[in-house]
Point group: D2
Chain length 329, copies 4
């Protein structure tokens, strides 16, 4: 049985805690937050979980195997580094770190000390994203030509990072996972409307070694959430819309369109050409699968699907996109 | 009563002919195509319309007021120029011309000779686009922050022009119409998958003097048509989906979202914040309105909604986008 | 080459005329309406079609093969009977006749004189309905258990017939076509809200010899059109929504649902179990196929898909439903 | 502070327990199930909740204020009666009882002893149903003409009750709540496909004193859940689709439709006439609101929204529908 600790009980930490609590590989659990109110709230909900307000207590506990870090971005690196140096396996919420250098150092430390490093790219554990991966890998779509992804909603403006660091990790992690490669070039275009120098809308272009290209739109300014990812291959197209309740994934077959429209009305009607299939998706909470991946990789020594290396790849693209954005903005 | 002539009876010309035929401002009509088969087909359908296989016959007809040009792009300029020099009002299918220089010369010729020049930006006459314009102008959306537009489908690869020249005129004309301004910068990113040096997918970034920015995705590679234009303002968002049969336009009100989700499931459920309104759209074929605009402007001397100047603005953006694409591709 | 005549140029007749005009089996065409305005309008559109204001002129024309009747319901029977007696093949708009007796007499007359009788059940020629028929006949859905069909919209209240006679012919003709059988029992429940004694909403129950049952909802009172037909078989379900632009037909595979929901949210999320397929539908205007069926059956002597017998079956069910409705209302 | 006890920890009981646990009006809690496995499972999750395997222990506890009954239908009556006789306020899962007589006796007992009786008509506490009620009561829809409701899914066939007793309580409770009246007549039509004499599909007609009528479709045979409730009033229509993630409720304004369609395509396009509004819905779990209603009514002496009387009204309609179904089936 493993013993894991959660640092940070703010917005996301309680969700990770809940899933660790329910996971059977996990024996004991300890939670930590320097804010006494948050700690108090969690103590009421989990009276049998031990706690501390100082993460160093946790790291000093020699019986502790793993640390899950759900604090703000700026503290990801120092906490993860200290945990790795203390010999703990480390899971860090996304983004993995605040810079390429930090991410590289964490990955290196993990390797050197044979410790698992993992990043919370939750979408890599969500059923529609996994199903899309299976379909891509099966060759059903043919060679992947391009992927577009839109992720806009009404977001809380962050004081210190652009919308790219907040939202693009989701899309980047999906794209890299699906294509099994990192981009060879990344550029971005955007604007800061609400807060000075904090871009709140960005359009990001990516080119991949395989020849595939991508376009990612992220924004905090949209009153309603829109999510749509389109994967166009040489044979078929896959559309993944996370706001759809039932048909989150649709695969569009190609066909031949020969109608010469006689009127504008007909022009608008001739939309599609082949069958459309919406495959059954398995049920299951992504966070449960994510925690299970972390704990099982600790036990088996396997590399997690969203390993530190994936975290680094995403941070690399984020840094490139953000730098490009700052130039154009 | 006016007398108009149509040059080019291939793909789109018959639709323009049909609407001119039905328009009551139009008295006589003459049609022209150098291909005898096409001409024959139209003679059967319109036995009372005169015809010629040589457009010069048409231009020499002193009783003719106006010429409608629906030929391939490369002949837009020489035909329109000759018609303007012959003193005819001119309507040219989109794109207005094959280069900025050509477009400028046509606009100038029209002005100098007090002749109407108009371009076939049909979407500027379609009910949802006009409704969106009304909503924007009313101030309901607040200050426009950004517009994204996706126009992908299975397209016929053209031998000589990129997907930008084929599909982006639609989006550019809508954006410039809505924002009432031309972009201050245009850049594009894309790839040529099927034919060498003919990009078949492109992502275009636009910046406008007002501060608004745009992202336009166009492609011929998608097995099924996707159309979605999102206009995000400081107060509300408008989504225009031309593949929707009923609710083509939706206006999303802003709200306040305060829920701290407890699980990934809830996280995904908390999608929207305010009311959503899908306004009633008037019926009416855009092409009929377009031909009516052309003929009425000839009679009144007014400037058409999609005047030659609008045609020029779009050609300018197309040329910039295409040049940028060629650099990055 | 056949010679056909159209009687009635009001609401629907011009559409039939247009498709007869375009059909190549048809040589000459004659049109007829006692209203001079309607006739004038059509003469302008079809200057090469002969015309008369008296249908008897048409029936006396010995070179005429067939008559298409698109007048109001009450004149269907006398006109069709006179045409059959004059030796003409007859197509009658739906409903075939105003009573069972009338419909039976027309079918008998056709048989006796070896003339084609056909009814304008247009949906039997529309691509989604035909695709549903193919899927049912293939056995993919298993044994058909029940069919529900909703057809509500804002309708013009008719002075002399209930909403059942106006709208239910569409649903009845589809159901009988799909199931290949007539109902063994029909009953209806409804109400007359706007005009006294003219029911404008009705719910109709049908039982079929095969064991299948049906529920049809029709109304003129709904501000927006809703169309949804659900076919539930022992193996799969087919949903046909005619207001959908692209995915008019969806086939839902069965699966096993084992999740015990923990919260009301999850309860609402566990919606589906298997793959969903939206098959490609061929293009094509139903009316063109309908006129082609009529003319080709005249030439070949085959029985049309929507023969007089089908017209009779639908009239039988309409009369039963209406009688039942009058009792309960 | 109140003390409540939950009897029955099978499918639904744990959800009620969870919401009682979270409710602040509730001080102590006791849970009960005769199945030791279920009890054990809940003890692990709620170590601080007392428990018993014999509900009589619970009823004998003089400090207990209220009992929540989530057992199978046949035991609703005896348990609720015993609890009322023991002086406890009683909440019973839907359906309230297995017969009209039972339901009447429970309502009477509650009244006589001044105890709250309440039934678990959860939908009466769900945001879209409440929003629909507000819209109806505001008069926005005009006079309600008819309501149709479809509730089909892949259901577990129950051994002893028809699909009507299983699914129709949801629709009946919504309809009666919205219309503020009980039906004056109820009839049903259906069939038993899978199990002998256990109808698994039913179409139910209802007439109300106000003149409104209803049609409810329920079935266990559909591979995918369909939910659609349509409320047609004299002025507007409201559509409530519980499978929609975002726009669960849409209000369709009326308009005038004057287009005479020229082709079958146009015929199909002219779908709607007025604006469509999808109002913002408040967040919130219905079960939490339901438990809050129960506990607060105990404290205030108010009558709950879904009181025993509502439970009785629904049972009355269920019994009528079922009897009618048995006759026709």
């Amino acid at each position: 049985m493993l013993k894991a600790g959660v640092i940070g009980l703010g917005y996301w930490g309680p969700n990770l805690l809940r899933n660790l609590y329910a996971n059977k590989r996990n024996g004991e659990l300890i939670m930590c937050d320097s804010d006494p109110d948050r700690l108090e709230k969690m103590k009421l909900r989990y009276p049998d979980v031990s706690y501390t307000s100082d993460y160093r207590d946790m790291l000093n506990d020699s019986s502790l195997d793993a640390v899950v870090i759900a604090t703000n971005v700026s503290s990801h690196f120092p906490l993860a580094k200290e945990a790795l140096l203390a010999g703990k396996h480390v899971f860090v919420e996304k983004p993995f770190a605040a810079s390429i250098e930090q991410a590289e150092e964490l990955v290196d430390l993990g390797k050197k000390n044979s410790l698992v490093t993992m990043v919370g790219h939750t979408f890599m554990f969500s059923p529609p994203v996994i199903k899309a991966k299976e379909i891509i890998d099966s060759g059903e779509l043919g060679k992947i030509h391009f992927i577009t992804s839109s992720r806009v909603n009404l977001g809380l403006h962050q004081k210190d990072v652009s919308v790219i660091w907040d939202l693009a990790p989701h899309d980047f992690s999906m794209l890299f996972y699906w294509l099994d490669e990192e981009p060879s070039s990344v550029s971005a275009f955007g604007h800061a409307y609400v807060l000075d120098k904090i871009p709140d809308v960005a359009f990001i272009n990516l080119a991949f070694p395989s020849g595939a290209i991508g376009n990612v739109q992220v924004s905090w300014l949209s009153p309603s959430k829109l999510r749509r990812t389109v994967i166009v291959g040489s044979r078929k197209m896959l559309v993944y819309d996370d706001t759809e309740p039932i048909e989150k994934i649709k695969v569009y077959d190609k066909g031949v369109e020969v109608i010469e429209p006689e009127s504008f009305g007909e022009y608008q009607l001739s939309y599609r050409t082949g069958d459309i299939l919406s495959p059954k998706l398995p049920a299951g909470e992504p966070l449960a699968a994510e925690m299970e991946e972390f704990l099982s990789c600790i036990e088996t020594g396997n590399t997690p699907r969203s390993s530190g290396a994936e975290g680094l790849a995403v941070v690399r693209a984020l840094e490139l996109a953000d730098a490009s954005l700052m130039k154009t903005g």
